[in-house]
């Protein structure tokens, strides 16, 4: 996904050869995820937050909630905004500056999963139709890049949303008054992204950084809680066949369930 940290040609060949034999350099099976570690509520100042470690990949997500104006075409709904920062401290290939196409794509894939699965009950975030609604800012902060930022970010975003507490409020003569106490953000669905890399014409799940350097193409399938597909994104310079897409959809369904169980348990 991200442009080159250099992997030696020998290692590239080794990764590709092993995968053609159904093995991986780090000992995982082709459809095994790295270990997922999840911490919730790591930032007290944020309304919700989570830190996810997927192997050595590390992503933090903070949720902030503010009052703002709704979009004119949906005056009765709150607003969801997802942004991703590839923080320079996370990788030698990340540069400071405005978001590049990689961080925009990452944010938009995470956004699509949450939005299309209707994970947040946005209609409950309306204060005054057409005038005042809550805006949910989901900020994805990549802290260490070791591949598969998409899945790590999607898990972290969902965890942070589940962790989000909103202030209670009442409306008096058009003014919003904060009352004591908190209520959770209304969450209706649990979208999980499953990313594949195509290497040696085989599909591997959860590619780490070196595999991403070798892969021909990338495919992310996001599934909601009932196993329906709610977002898909192909990336990378290569291509997929229709058979590979069907195969990926099937594997993704199983993997998403596994990951969701893990998340709900914590």
């Amino acid at each position: 996904m991200m442009s080159s940290t250099i992997v030696a040609r020998v290692k590239q060949r080794q990764i590709a050869q092993l995968i053609s034999l159904g093995k991986r350099l780090d000992g995982r099976g082709l459809t095994d995820y790295r270990e997922v570690q999840l911490e919730m509520g790591v930032i007290g100042r944020a309304e919700g937050s989570a830190r996810v470690r997927l192997g050595k990949t590390e992503v933090m997500v903070g949720v902030k909630i503010e009052i703002g104006e709704p979009f004119p075409d949906v005056p009765n709904e709150g607003v969801l905004t997802v942004n991703a920062e590839l923080v320079p401290l996370a990788s030698p290939t990340f540069e400071p500056g405005p978001p590049d196409e990689n961080s925009i794509e990452l944010a938009r894939i995470v956004d699509r999963g949450i939005r299309e699965s209707k994970a947040i009950a946005l209609e409950e975030l309306c204060v005054e139709p057409g005038k005042k609604v809550f805006i949910v800012f989901v900020d994805v902060y990549v802290l260490n890049h070791d591949g598969n930022l998409i899945d790590a970010s999607a898990i972290a975003a969902l965890a942070a949303l589940l962790n989000t507490k909103m202030c209670k409020y009442e409306v008096k003569e058009g003014e919003i008054k904060i009352k004591p106490g908190f209520s959770p953000l209304p969450i209706r669905n649990y979208p999980i992204a499953v990313t594949f890399a195509k290497i040696s014409d085989k599909l591997v799940v959860d590619p780490w950084l070196d595999e991403e350097q070798v892969m021909d193409a990338r495919l992310t399938i996001t599934l909601e809680k009932d196993g329906k597909i709610c977002a898909v994104q192909k990336g990378g310079y290569g291509h997929f066949t229709t058979q590979q897409i069907s195969e990926a959809a099937k594997i993704a369904q199983e993997k998403a369930q596994e990951l969701r169980k893990h998340l709900v348990k914590s």
């Binding site: 925009i104 196993g227 709610c230 994104q233 066949t241």
Partner: protein
């Protein structure tokens, strides 16, 4: 120009708002070689979509330090004209346009023999003059033709088309209304000779079965578009031949 969401997008006879059947494309008109300065260019009208594409290159890459030692760099800009949509769109590139530029580039890269032109750039510009849903697909279709028109060696043309779900039924080539009022949209690009999917996105909600059906439906659409692309490319050289013979 104001479009209102009708009560029903598909009637009981499976006829859509614009009179099409469920797996019918909008009328498509494609033309190659439409701009004087560009090395290759093409124009497409697909329903109300009107899109121009131009290719410059292969040429020297600036800034030079970006040059790739073993292949050409394809650079792509997908851009919508401020007047192409209902509410004026700011001409500054939006996040959507940045993402689309990236996925369009990645959908065309597999078709080009980039390794023939190391250290160069091939610059591709897609301008959406009028938009009515499915502009990324029509953009890819017309861009592939512009690349071919520029004489750049390609493995195959790339044809693109979307399928989706509207009011519980799978449909081909969604308009803006159908996209907004529908349940799902699956844009896809395909190289027919290689059975290679080079773009695949989806948003909305589909079960696995529906998703696979939508993919196959979109591929059928791509087959029709591929034919039109080839005809457009041939048509250009027929006119050249006629001019020479006169």
């Amino acid at each position: 120009m104001l479009q209102k969401m009708p009560e029903k997008l598909i009637d009981e006879n499976n006829v859509r708002v614009d009179g099409r059947g469920l797996n019918e494309l909008r009328p498509v008109k494609i033309e190659a070689g439409v701009l004087g300065n560009a090395d290759g260019s093409a124009y497409i009208e697909q329903g109300k979509n009107k899109i121009l594409a131009a290719v410059y290159g292969p040429k020297e890459l600036h800034p030079k330090h970006l040059a790739l030692p073993d292949r050409a760099m394809l650079r792509c800009r997908y851009h919508m004209a401020p007047f192409s949509v209902q509410e004026r769109k700011s001409p500054a590139p939006s996040r959507r346009e940045m993402e689309l530029s990236k996925v369009i580039r990645e959908s065309l890269e597999p078709s080009i023999f980039l390794e023939y032109y190391p250290r160069t750039s091939i610059d591709l510009f897609i301008e959406v003059l009028q938009a009515d849903g499915g502009t990324r697909c029509a953009g890819i279709t017309v861009a592939a033709l512009a690349l071919a028109d520029a004489g750049i060696p390609m493995r195959d043309l790339v044809a693109a088309c979307a399928a989706g779900k509207v009011e519980g039924r799978l449909v081909l080539d969604l308009t803006d209304l159908e996209d907004k009022g529908g349940e799902a949209d699956v844009p896809l690009a395909w190289m027919p000779n290689l059975n290679a999917l080079t773009l695949l996105q989806m948003d909305g909600m589909l079960n696995r079965d529906e998703f696979e059906h939508a993919v196959n439906m979109a591929i059928e659409g791509c087959k029709q578009i591929y034919k039109l692309q080839k005809e457009a490319l041939k048509a250009k050289y027929v006119t050249v031949k006629e001019e020479v013979e006169e």
